[in-house]
Symmetry: D2
Subunit: 419 residues, 4 copies
């Protein structure tokens, strides 16, 4: 290992860097974890550990058998993270044929259809320039018992789980089950959320890349809308429960007139009236809607709603609903609807995300060699840190309707409340 | 006018540059205009006139009043064409305040909502770097009588119509009506079709740019499909009656396993069997379908079909149909559906299209100053020519299922017949 | 002004968020401002003020006359910052004809060649999608007396200076001179450095965009080098005294074998030996060199050095020197040298920089309306803050050779010391 | 082989599709090969053979041993051509382990340092999305005797040479030597020239991609020039003896004021006067110069000139010369010089070039299986054809200063003569 510089186990990073003269001036409803349902606020621990290589390593590299798995939906940067976990393991001295890649998510541990692959240097060479995940991924519940059985059977003593809230929860469950069964596997997670809705983390990897790609759809909508008489450009973006992509892409593009996110309620009538006003004023309008926005309105409109296999509520399609209702309610509108969907997830990372992924991948390996388990690695207040998984999975991070970011967007596009 | 070099009125370009030893070896069903319904073939005229500036010009530039209109759907390059018509008119010496831009398509001649704008040099400066059309556009029928009335009223003696098959037909009708009424307006058209389905023309402006953008969706589909277990990436592209975009984007991307176009029939069973075979062989599959493909199959499947206001048949959505049927018929498929829709039309031109548009814009103006009317300008066998509008509007250009291009794609992706 | 949410004057952001168990484990030579010459470390103030709108504003918007000026070299984001200063001023209620744009840098205050322009909403519409600066810019010393004379004469009571270390120093001098002369102009600065070498600030606007563009050159160098026998791809990037662009672009690209920056010494012999070793091992090598690297080596090599008009040392061209010396010393090398130069500065911003610029522009205006003067606005530990100008201009920020970032790169590319 | 459709051996494509009323109106100095030195014109053969698969193939696929080599400078599309030669060979039934890739150009046949590689399907999978050449390349003379010795020794009966004028000449010499020695190797060439200066061919592969990338430099120069007081943006592009890239990139960009190419003489005084006029009129100017432009002027200016190892004249650096002389002669100019150099060659192909390369690769293999030798494949009047190598290597294609393309550019940018 070339890196001679190490970080200390006692090195800490503050989770809270601001001091407010009053609660009101904080510009945010809560310093900590805000429950947007009941408005309660759970404070965060004040400090967390720095990520990085330690002086003393807990495992002898030649004796390490590692496994890497990606789970959940695609997100730019998965290949970057995989590559850098592998490179760092090799750099520590882990033999290349003792690094396994689990195929197609957590079920790859026990599925008959796809055996683990060997993750050597050649296998990951150049994959950082490609979207997707070399390993494959899948959604859905995992059989923790079966996974721990394989970890034990295959002698895996380091497991790297790259996943979202669900993936981190699974990693936590695996770690607890390992503890219970006395299986000596260190479990490190790397939080992945294209919506950037993981608690505490400054932003998730791939998020900036996704915003860049989302902006393309918004710029296209502007071109379409402004080239049509009473043109409305409507773009549906990702964001089931958090509107960060919609908010940031709207802010960046400079062409959005209305931005609708799950965290901010709106009524159909107020919205329609405002669109009409924009059409009269500018001749066209561009609307950006996160997929989770307006779900209460959709339910009232009578469309049936259920739950999927994982128990997540099935979202109504707010995009096609708005397309329909705008056409119906506003006369002579020339509607241009864009749903970029998977195009946003499948692109390679931009430079900033690429570097971020490198550091996360390196950090996960450093943490495991330091003997940590049940932790996740992330960027907090511009510093890379280790966090106990339970800290980040208790809720999803949301746009604070009273916070500075949302207010900046509202100021920038002069958007009123639609209630 | 700086350009001293002129072309001769007798300069001709051959429309047919190939000689075949036999009909079979031609690799094409027809040298000329193929009727794909009944297989008949209408030969083209052997020669057409070269585009370019003439020694003698027919109108005195200070006395020219010109109007420019764009109609139909967006296509990359509209702004380029507008800009170069304006620059060339100014270069001839037409006063800048005598160039009108008609807003939002042909109805802009008589609509109360949007008066014509002045198209001076400043108004078109830099618009070639932006997608869309500065003038706005719209679909649908035009009132030829009303248009000719305004042309006469406003003293427009040069009209430039940038539009598709419909736009060219309207231009032709306007020219005939002008003749009939003795209105002295020269009518020049510039053929626009993002599908590149205009007869005789090598390719339409904006087509290459659209293929480039379409390829992005295909590459995203490949990333999604190959990252999923039994992943199917399905992309719906433009192409109501002609599959050129789907064919060329599939060819370019190098990631498509199956390409479905309107010109080539397929049966659901054969298709499903082949997709399943690909999934077993490679683990995933990428399908590119043109929106007009499989309409006969959809009609059989019982979905209702009608006609829109313009009398065009309303296409069934083959994309969502295939998404549904593949999921239903093939077990355990992880379906990723991408419909890039307007994103493909709204991008700025690539260099090649930009140059093409410049030459078309210049050519249209040269033709009008040469006193031609009822003509359209295009690229034929790499040469810029003038064609009588009726020659190109008698049908739409289609992919020849027996021709070299389609066969090259089939060879490249090893696609069998699905009948 | 739509924005109802305000920040408090007592709101503070911590400048130091880490706690280290020992100086050694800090992984950095200094928490504060490191003097790389003598190794001394000046601690920062622990807290700074939050940026944002205040409850009480100091000036009555209709009475505000504002001026905006950009100075120094181009950097992605100048137009974004200008646009958002203007939009925010208008949003506060400043009349559009009371916002001046000073042309071509600070000398535009008194130069005869270029009068100030009116910066209304229409003038800045859409400029965020274009590189460069609408106002023009220039390098070099400014006549503070003359500037203050014009500020007084024109009744400018808000001045926004977007510039680098020099521009901030000038802003500071203007503010002091205004104080001295009793001219009532509030001076707000916005720190601009494509090298991101401004003290305290997390990163400067435009930096990420520049890294993205720089990466293109590195990827091209990789293609060239790997396509040649004993190919060496050599890329010179910006970075007079700080190697952040070179470091981050090398890290992101994943294709660089050797990265040379001003902060880290190297000897020619060691470097040549290592390049040769890479060539033998991999067949080719990619080198990224910051323009300020190896200046001591160049001086020893006898090339003459002087000072420019501003008193800055004229850098020797390390790029062409390395090109020459590698060719000369290493047999049979196929050298491919790329100097992307201005291409890196002239691109439009990526989304993240665009948002950053928006917030900076808004923040500068909020600060001025809050009555602050002599301040600069920036991102510190992910929070937007106001800093007294003198804090940030006492030195340039540099890559810490003992810090985590440089060590991560060295680990990632396995680069040894070249001394 | 899936492709059932074949072309006939008697199928012909016309090389001349235009008919002019007079020599003057042709708008071109010569229909055929123009000698720009003495103005003489060598007519082309009127017809050439169509490219494509034949009914009868000359070699039994299992008995084919093929070799592929790339030579000369990089050009976008080399990997595409390699990939499609390999895929088409495999498609015919050639065993994958009988396809050799010669490393680093023609000298790879006998160099000890780099043995040929096996070009199987896996080796070329996905390389079309990457710039450069998988095989490597090099410039310079080849030992024809040695090459033929290896062809004979290794039993290579199909050789594919992808190269420029020199590469095609070598292919021709190899074919002649094979004939002489009775070595049964069929030699197929694929003409490569990023300058697109190969005779008869509509355009060379990679050219459009190069123009696209070159345009980026021009747009950057515009941003830099227009952001500076009396700013001059100067961009040097490729083009030793033919100015096609400079001409087309200037045309496409719409931001160039002056375009200098090798085919059109200019005097320093006239040029300087015109730049100054532009600066006074617009405040800035953008100049695009091909590397081979103004060489006569440079020789007069006293700089020494010689010949390189291959006997090509060493060009003086017109870019740095103009940078120097403009600064010296025009007062107060803010000069921004951009030399994108290798960045233009190293990018992956755009869609159109990608398709072109596919068809060329397929065509070369079809031609060899048809038993042709000593031929090259190219696009002529939009049709793919086979040409005898000697037809295309007798000269380089040049921009005709009296032709339509150059005149269109001059009209578009209002450029006068500088003589």
């Amino acid at each position: 290992m070339h890196c001679k510089r190490t970080v200390g186990d006692g090195d800490l990073v503050s989770l809270d860097v601001s001091r407010y003269e009053s609660e009101e001036s904080s510009g945010a409803s809560c310093i900590g974890i805000l429950n947007t349902e009941d408005g309660t606020c759970t404070p965060l621990p004040p400090w967390c550990r720095r990520s990085g290589p330690r002086k003393t390593i807990y495992l002898d590299p030649p004796n390490v058998t590692a496994a890497v798995v990606t789970c959940g939906g695609l997100c730019p940067g998965l290949n970057d993270v995989i590559q850098n976990i592998v490179f760092t393991l090799i750099d520590y001295g882990v033999p290349e044929d003792q690094i396994y890649g689990i195929r197609y998510g957590l079920r790859g541990f026990y599925s008959r259809d796809a055996k683990p692959m060997e993750l050597n240097a050649q296998a990951v060479e150049g994959i950082h320039l490609q979207g997707g995940t070399l390993l494959g991924t899948s959604r859905g519940g995992a059989d923790i018992q079966e996974i721990v059985k394989r970890l034990s059977l295959w002698g895996v003593n380091m497991l790297f789980v790259v996943g979202g809230n669900g993936g981190n929860a699974a990693a936590n469950a695996i770690q607890e089950e390992c503890d219970k069964q006395g299986v000596l596997t260190l479990v490190a997670a790397c939080p992945k959320s294209i919506d950037s809705d993981i608690l505490v983390i400054d932003r998730c990897f791939g998020f900036e890349t996704a915003v860049e790609e989302a902006q393309r759809a918004l710029l296209a909508a502007k071109v379409e809308a402004s080239s049509a008489f009473r043109g409305v450009g409507l773009v549906k973006l990702m964001g089931r429960s958090s509107g960060f992509i919609a908010m940031q892409a709207s802010m960046a593009s400079g062409v959005v007139d209305i931005c609708l996110i799950p965290e901010v309620h709106f009524t159909e009538d107020k919205l329609m009236a405002y669109i009409d006003k924009q059409l009269q004023k500018k001749g066209h309008a561009v609307i950006c809607v996160a997929e989770g926005a307006g779900q209460d309105m959709l339910m009232k409109s009578g469309t049936h709603q259920g739950f999927d296999a994982s128990g997540n509520p099935i979202l109504q399609d707010v995009g096609t609903y708005l397309r329909h209702i705008i056409r119906k309610k506003l006369e002579g509108v020339d509607m241009k609807y864009i749903d970029p969907s998977y195009q946003i997830r499948a692109v390679p990372t931009n430079c900033n995300d690429r570097i971020y992924c490198k550091v996360l991948g390196q950090g996960a390996v450093h943490g495991a060699f330091a003997g940590f388990t049940g932790f996740t690695v992330g960027l907090v207040n511009t510093h890379y840190v280790y966090l106990p998984i339970p800290v980040i999975i208790q809720d999803t991070r949301k746009v604070d309707p009273r916070g500075r970011s949302w207010n900046r967007l509202k100021t920038a596009i002069n958007q009123p409340e639609f209630v």
